[in-house]
């Protein structure tokens, strides 16, 4: 009996549903010394912008119960340096490359999408409308329906590559935002990004994070993420990529059953560089034990 792990996100065929989450996997090469990147379903590289970004002032991270807060501030080397310095290496691998991207304003989003669309070796675009650590007028793009609608529409118009929109959990009803993405032609939505959070040092009465607040990730947010993926999967027809605190295959399977077509490993990469591949192995084992021949039979199989 064979057990197929292949899933389809728009025109993107993934050998398995396990992706690395943006911002947690560097530009891929950092992890290539630990794992065979060919075995991942896809790799999402760190969020890129038109120009290099220095990111936020330290301290940038703090560990919390079963999670961590980060405020990196989208530090990145910029799209041009990425294409010259990092992409040639990534192209050597037989996996799909997803580039997470953002801009300071909508024009920059559009320009980024144009560049990414024209670059060989980039298989899909993930539009970051939800980073909690970036302040700009377009910061609210992921939080306000009208802004999101306009942004997705304009970015969609300039790329034929699969367009994924990464959603913020910081909204009243995430299904509304997902539907907007679907209506404006996005190929998929990914969720959830981190949850805005803070920790106070009671002696200094200051925040432990340089920018006062940061984004909470890790297993602490997983049940919230599962619930949102469940809701969104029922609300839209486009594929949902689920993420938020996945550490083990059991965690990943919850998301798949809730309706996620694929899942992403984020903070767990920091716990163990092998986390992504361990999840792939664990899912394989589960399919074998449960005698499921095609993972697509498991996806969205939640029983009410």
């Amino acid at each position: 009996m064979t057990h197929s792990l292949e899933v389809q996100i728009s025109s993107l065929r993934l050998r398995n549903p396990v992706i690395t989450a943006s911002g947690t996997f560097g530009y891929g090469l950092e992890y290539s010394q630990f794992i065979d990147l060919n075995l991942a379903g896809a790799i999402t590289v760190k969020g890129l912008s038109l120009n290099p970004k220095q990111g936020n002032p330290p301290p940038r991270i703090y560990e919390t119960p079963c999670g961590m807060i980060n405020s990196i501030g989208l530090q990145n080397i910029g799209i041009d340096a990425f294409v010259v310095e990092k992409l040639p290496f990534l192209k050597k691998f037989d996996t799909k490359i997803i580039v997470n991207f953002f801009g300071e304003n909508l024009d920059e989003y559009v320009e980024m999408a144009l560049k990414l669309d024209a670059t060989d070796g980039i298989h899909a675009l993930e539009m970051n409308v939800s980073c909690p650590n970036k302040s700009s007028e377009w910061r609210k793009m992921g939080l306000e329906a009208e802004l999101l609608k306009k942004a997705v529409k304009e970015v969609r118009a300039v790329t034929f590559k699969p367009l994924i929109v990464k959603l913020s959990p910081q909204v009243t009803d995430i299904t509304v935002m997902a539907k907007i993405c679907e209506d404006e032609g996005a190929d998929a939505v990914s969720l959830i990004n981190t949850i805005p959070a803070m920790v106070i040092d009671i002696k200094s009465r200051k925040s432990i994070i340089g920018t006062t607040t940061g984004g909470l990730s890790g297993p602490a947010i997983r049940p919230v993420a599962v619930r949102m993926v469940f809701e969104v999967s029922r609300a839209v027809k486009i594929p949902v990529i689920g993420m938020g605190g996945i550490v083990t295959a059991d965690d990943a399977l919850q998301f798949l059953i809730a309706g996620a077509r694929a899942i992403a490993i984020g903070t767990a990469n920091f716990i163990n560089p092998h986390a992504t591949l361990k999840v792939v192995e664990g899912i394989k084992k589960f399919l074998f034990e449960e005698r499921i021949t095609d993972i697509n039979d498991l996806i969205g199989s939640f029983r009410d």
Partner: protein, 248 residues
Amino acid sequence: MNKVTQAKIVDNKSLTDDIFLISLEIPEPIEAKPGQFCILRMNERLDPLLGRPFSIFDYEGNIINFLYRVKGKGTEILSKMDKDQNVLLTGPLGRWYPYPEKDFVVIAGGIGLASVYYLIKKFKNRAYFFCGVRSEKEILFYNEIKTFAKEVYISTESGTTGYRGVVTDLFKEKGLMLNLPVYACGPMVMLKELKRIVQGSSIPCYVAVEERMACGIGACLGCAIETREGLKRVCTDGPIFELKELML
């Protein structure tokens, strides 16, 4: 692709009230250099979530040692682990101390010894070692260091042993005129004072820096520190930096 490995605890003992030495047996030899570090993850539990970075204190054959002070949740758990238990070891990671060409000065403040012991041991009979501790009972591995180092100078805050005062003052008195490269690890206030002392001289200073860390391999950008050339990652651009590069 073998940087992550299960390591078995062969010993884990307290040397003072809060300083411990843990010895781990690893299945295959690694190439560990002085100044590098490893990340230890104590168990599969999710709280604390992240592993903890520790300087490589000593390494020989298949045994790797870490000297650590119990400070928080992670080190507390580590200090209670027993012989034959396993920890997940990732490493060696980071840049090492540039190898000294001739004699050199080493300055360790408190638990900073954890980063420099292996350097002194590797380059036998070449280090002028300046060791600053709070009290006499924190003078660790004195006999061993005595055999590896060229000279040993001790300072204690109480003055019960050696020089009375801070180690940077002792260095200023006895070490500065040697005009040798300096390798140092210790609290931020010590590094700041050292920077002040060597300012204007041409003495190269290499220091080990600490920062909260998540991935340890340069991916998360969490351990950023300010340098003259902008933000750098302690895990992969460091943990060894030239002192003059740091904005202290």
